[in-house]
Symmetry: C2
Subunit: 108 residues, 2 copies
Amino acid sequence: MTYFISADDASRHDLFPGVGIQTATGEQLTLSCVEMEPGALVPWHSHPHEQLGVLLEGELTFWIGDEKRTLRPGDMWRIPGGVSHQAQAGDRPVRAIDVFHPVREDYR
Amino acid sequence: MTYFISADDASRHDLFPGVGIQTATGEQLTLSCVEMEPGALVPWHSHPHEQLGVLLEGELTFWIGDEKRTLRPGDMWRIPGGVSHQAQAGDRPVRAIDVFHPVREDYR
């Protein structure tokens, strides 16, 4: 495993319309840099992995379980494994970070 | 455990001169938003936790084991547990994300 992954060498995935990620995969962790176009939606889903994240730019409305919050840059979230969630970008492009344990094999 | 942590409620720590973090702690993960003043140094250290990260702003010189790299925004790193590393900011303020598994008890 190499220690450094340049931005050009990161793994890229298009998840949903207007939602793309660049990822780095470790032994027990996946780091995902998320970009969303204005209004783009990550629809309701769940996974066994724990997920933490932070909003870097834009405005993001996040639903986790039965809670809903509109987030601003610097706001963070934590989603236990198995808890359903969705997220929708506001009127401006969104940049965010998500991290998962264990590794998201589908994001390699 | 609450799902949302607003920027104002995040845990803050001053690690070294000119190096501050805001963190969120999950069950198996710690997410750390790092700010470094120009020239600030995180000196050589190691920990049993796996660490992944990404540079958001500025220029960061990173030493991991016997490798050295000067990073630009979007570049990422992954540090297996127990591998020594240090990092120094360039001429501009640095913003970066670090994530750890398991939880960094000292960053709660």
